[in-house]
Structures are given as C-alpha cells and as structure tokens.
C-alpha cells in the first residue's frame, strides 16, 4: 500500500461533497459528464452556468499548487505505455468515457457522489458497474503489460 493518502483523499472528498451541496442548493446536480454533455450538440439551452462550472474546475485545480498543494505526485501514464501507445490509450479511453457516461447518464460525480447521496438505486447500480468493469480492465492491462 504505497502512497496511501487517506487524510488528503478524505479532505478532497469532503470538499467535493460541499461543492455538490452548493450546486444542489441552486437546484442542480454536480454531475460533470452531464454538465459537459449540455454543451455538446444537441446542446442544452442553459450554457452559461455549465461553462462557468467547468472553468471553475480548471481554476480550482490551478489554485491548488499556488496555496502549497503538491502536484508532483501526478503521473498520467500509469501503465508505463510507450508514447505512441499512450496516445492511443488516451484517445480510446476518452471516447469510451464520453460514450459511456452519455449512454449511462453519469459518471463518478453524478452517479457516485450525487446519486448515492440521493440514495438512488440507479446510481448504485451504475457505480458498482463502472467500478467492477474498471477493476477488471486494470487487471487485464496489468496482466498483458506484465506488471
């Protein structure tokens, strides 16, 4: 269990919960894939708050290192893919994440944090499904890569 960061992860999770609470106090669910989806044709009529939320995401992540947060732990190539293979993985992964969250109406935030907060059976089913498939996917890639 290298790099175990329960305190930082719990603190981050609490902040995510507070953010979702603020957004729901304004009437909206903090589901990132749904917020993005409303900007992609056929788009939703209400685009402004969506753009502002997404810019806020980038701004909040940019703020983190400026207040002493450590981002040196970030490693975007977990399997040690060659550069070419990594590009393929990012394109395939991105397409699947986009299609899957669109068809399945949500991602880790919408189904995971907000849906479970509403005690939704749909959200629990989706969360267990994507977690299970992701675990198997990592297992298979690790097996193939010999790691």
């Amino acid at each position: 269990m290298d790099n175990f960061t329960p305190i930082l992860s719990l603190a981050g999770g609490l902040i995510l919960g507070i953010s979702a609470t603020i957004l729901l106090a304004g009437g909206r669910i903090a589901g990132i894939s749904g917020i993005i989806s409303g900007l992609i044709p056929p788009a939703a009529a209400d685009k402004k708050w969506r753009v502002l939320f997404l810019l806020g995401l980038i701004g909040g992540a940019a703020l983190f290192p400026t207040v002493g947060g450590d981002i040196s732990y970030i490693d975007i190539n977990p399997y040690g893919f060659s550069d070419d293979l990594h590009y393929v993985a990012l394109i395939v992964g991105g397409l699947l994440v986009g299609m899957g969250t669109s068809i399945g109406s949500g991602c880790t935030s919408g189904h995971g944090i907000c849906g479970l907060g509403r005690i939704s059976a749909r959200a629990l089913t989706a969360t267990l499904s994507f977690m299970a498939v992701a675990v198997v996917t990592v297992f298979v890639i690790r097996l193939v890569m010999g790691g």
Partner: protein, 139 residues
C-alpha cells in the same frame, strides 16, 4: 445568481479533485488494482463526498424549491435498464484504460498537458457520437 454559485462550486470541485488524488491516473489505477499493489485512498474520496451529500441532499431536497431559488433539475429516470448498465460498463472500461474520469480530466487541463487535452477532446467526441447514434428514447 446561479452563475456565481456554479463558479464557486466549480472552483471547490476542481480544488477538491486535486487535493484528493483523483487527478493522477496512476493513483486511480492504483485504486482499481485490487489484486496488485492496492492503494485504497480513493475510497476515501467517494466516502467523504457521499458522507456530506447523503446528509445535505436529504435536507435540501425536503424543500419544495432550491435554497437559492429556481427549481430542482433532477434526473427523472428511475428504472434500472440496459442503457444504464451498458453505459456504466463502457465508462468503466475507458476509466480503466485512461485513468481519467470527466471531472479530473477537465480539472487537469490546469496543468497544461497536451495529452490531457487529447483525452478531453476524445471524450467530447464520445459524447457527440453517443448523442447521435444512441440518443435516449425519450428525447
């Protein structure tokens, strides 16, 4: 008014993701790698998030209207259907391959990696493709 709420919520969310470790695909894969060198940290992210929402949502949703006015925009579907499970499965596959889900992908644009930008563009195309080829039956 809601634009201000949304901006603040977005900033908090992006900060929370960076703090939590979710913006690092290696951390995500370490969490999913339960048979390998397992790093359970990210269970604390969802645990912390849900611990807050399960309480706050309970009280917020008791009200007829949102605290800051307007109306609630909540998912209306209640049925566990094939779309939900197939979609979640495809998402899980992509999450395992790239180590990124939508929130961390957008947030990580802050760190100016061209590879993250490629993932985000592919994700946008994925949504576009799904909307064209597999639109929800009701719309």
């Amino acid at each position: 008014m809601f634009n201000i709420i949304s901006t603040i919520a977005g900033i908090l969310f992006g900060f929370g993701l960076a703090l939590s470790g979710m913006v690092s695909p290696s951390k995500v894969v370490g969490f999913l790698d339960i048979t390998g060198n397992w790093d359970p940290s990210l269970a604390f992210v969802m645990g912390g998030g849900v611990a807050v929402t399960v309480i706050s949502f309970h009280f917020l949703l008791k009200r007829p209207h949102p605290l800051f006015g307007g109306r609630f925009h909540l998912p209306t579907a209640s049925e566990i259907d094939r779309r939900l499970v197939v979609g979640a499965g495809l998402f899980g596959l992509g999450w395992g391959i790239g180590g990124l889900c939508p929130g961390p992908a957008i947030s990580s644009l802050a760190y100016a990696s061209p590879k993250i930008a490629i993932f985000v563009i592919a994700m946008g195309f994925g949504i576009l493709i799904a909307k064209k080829l597999a639109p929800p039956p009701s719309t």
